[in-house]
Symmetry: C2
Subunit: 378 residues, 2 copies
């Protein structure tokens, strides 16, 4: 029992930048995020005093952590489904549930479910042999059903025998048609256990080498009917999959139609723009949703917001502190978010957000800001 003035504790499994920014947001709600991190050096572990060190696949660590939290949620998709079920069976409140989260963990489960719901997805098939893939048709995209992220686990396959080694290792693979798309979009929606939902505007996500580099909110030139369709799909997925917390739906825009690419059930890179660009950030919203608090307003605070990811650069060049000074000199309006992570080439180490109304100019500013932090020059 808590006393009258105490507030429920949110625990997040995983100590990455999503947990870090959730902690930053939840401080405003009068509490610290409790984090289960693998290492005391993790991005969130160095931001909050409420850290427990333990692995996300260690049954004992998970159970001890959950026992200290009023509600448990996730920074990533890597907690085994059976471990989440065990936590729930032991009476812990876990949001989203294992059965919902599975759709963000296993692409074959997700594809099957979305197909059953008659939601638009690329043509797909689980392939268990080289022959399966030949029958499916080549070239195509092959994805590992579990474990991929930021472009890892996704392969452009020309010849069926390219997947022989993975099949021999027992990896479950999903084949998908190569979608001829004009751009990628994403929409985020929050849903609370009581069934309240709030959807943010549809955004455009720009990818390079499978990694999101830029998000434009809202997506430019999107027909209102198409935006409404995306929102209706997000609503349906959130409801039919019984999602609690923030759900991100990644979409392919073929010009003629929207196809669902992937799902994430946590704050997501495509929603970082909401920190400055929306009344309620995705991080506060995720916390409110998993606490079953009334959700916050998702109105935009500016006509347009652009976020650029800061990737780690090559060694050498100006010291990072000098890069920060340079950026602040060049753009006093840029909002910098650094994750406290060590720099490795290509690793997401932060992001920069700018708001305004001139999208091409905002994109240029965001890209230059990210470049200064990555390379030491615009």
């Amino acid at each position: 029992m808590r006393d009258d003035n105490s507030l429920p504790t949110v625990g997040m499994i995983g100590g990455g930048q999503l947990a870090r920014m959730t902690h930053q947001a939840i401080l405003s709600l009068g509490r610290s995020l409790r984090v289960l991190a693998v290492s005391p050096d993790d991005s969130a572990a160095v931001a909050t005093p409420d850290v427990r060190i333990g692995r996300h696949d260690d049954a004992v660590a998970l159970d001890e952590f959950a026992a200290e939290c009023d509600v448990v949620t996730f920074d990533h998709e890597h907690v085994p489904s059976e471990r989440i079920e065990a936590l729930a069976a032991a009476g812990h409140v876990v949001r989203p549930t294992a059965s919902a989260l599975l759709h963000a963990q296993d692409k074959s489960v997700m594809r099957r479910r979305l197909s059953e719901l008659n939601l638009p997805v690329p043509r797909w098939e689980v392939v268990t042999s080289v022959e399966d893939l030949d029958r499916f048709g080549l070239p195509c995209v092959v994805k590992t059903a579990v474990g991929g992220y930021d472009g890892r686990g996704v392969f452009m396959v020309e010849r069926a025998d390219e997947i022989a080694a993975m099949l021999a290792d027992g990896v479950v693979l999903v084949a998908e048609e190569r979608v001829d798309m004009v751009r990628e979009l994403a929409i985020q929606i929050a849903r609370s256990p009581r069934g309240e939902t709030r959807a943010y505007p549809v955004v455009e996500t720009v990818q390079e080498n499978g990694i999101c580099t830029e998000v434009i909110a809202p997506a430019t030139g999107l027909h209102p009917d198409r935006a409404a369709q995306a929102q209706a799909m997000a609503e349906q997925i959130a409801r039919d999959l019984d999602v609690t917390g923030v759900l991100a739906v990644e979409l392919f825009d073929t010009g003629d139609a929207l196809l669902i690419n992937e799902l994430a059930m946590r704050p997501h890179n495509s929603g970082h723009w909401t920190i400055e660009g929306a009344v309620t950030s995705q991080f506060e919203q995720h916390a409110r949703a998993v606490l079953d608090y009334p959700l916050g307003d998702v109105s935009s605070t500016a006509p347009a917001t652009v976020m650029a990811n800061v990737l780690g650069g090559e060694a050498g060049g100006p010291a990072f502190d000098e890069r920060l000074r340079q950026l602040f000199t060049v753009d006093p309006q840029a909002k910098v978010h650094l994750y406290g992570k060590s720099v490795r080439p290509g690793r997401k180490i932060g992001h920069v957000t700018v708001t305004g109304d001139d999208v091409p100019l905002l994109r240029q500013r965001a890209r230059e800001a990210a470049s200064i932090l990555r390379h030491g020059h615009p």
Copy 2:
């Protein structure tokens, strides 16, 4: 020596809500605020992993703390001036300096200096005897030169002998005329060691029983000449007193003129609105200023922003968690900031901010939100 990717560490002496919100802001800059707190339960101590426990008047604790920081700054004015000088003499970087901060610590020093600078202040005098006060003229306001805040240390005196006991205790007292004012205003300006300054708009502060309850940004109906005058005064004070960090100048508006009331050299209650209402919050700005980084843009993000303080209510009534749910139900746009402090009647335990364009409506919403958190009803 730091390696190329590390960033300088900001240390703040004092673990109150100002340090808590500075930590929250500085996470975006890729670091934690290092805090010297008296108790591990302090508002900032429960928010950051970088806590050292020690008193702000303990020479050893201060020296050990400063040795771990690249720059040291303050959450309050209670560090003795000679202790700050000792830190500087030992080679630590302290911003603001002891000689600047003294003007926010000692009202007699502040009044004398502002008078020398020909800045407008109420008629004032240091009084050392009951006869001094009679000569000064009664009724008047008597303030303790050091140690007062939130209305403490300020007395409305009708008869000179009311101050006899304080004089007998050796307290230095400053007498001031009772200013016939129409309202109170405040302006915040940041100044960095390189001399860069950025001033936020002039705001109106509403006080009840000596405690700020509400801030309206920008102040309504203020003639642009008067606003420019306030800004020029803030600039002059920041420059002539060699302030580094954020300076708050509290002002009396007599309708005909502005008179300077008090100075603070740290983030200040009158600037909490900047978290949502300005591109750069006062907390990030203070960190940037003491780090000698280029300062952030101070443009407003909305036509008007209103902040209401949440004071602790009497015992009883709905549990705090229920109050939060009620507020979120009533006003999904309200931005809540709770400080993680235990509730005592009248204690500042948080604040609420709303942005928009209809000031009377914003004030009503902010007051109702604060009332729900204080009393459990609007």
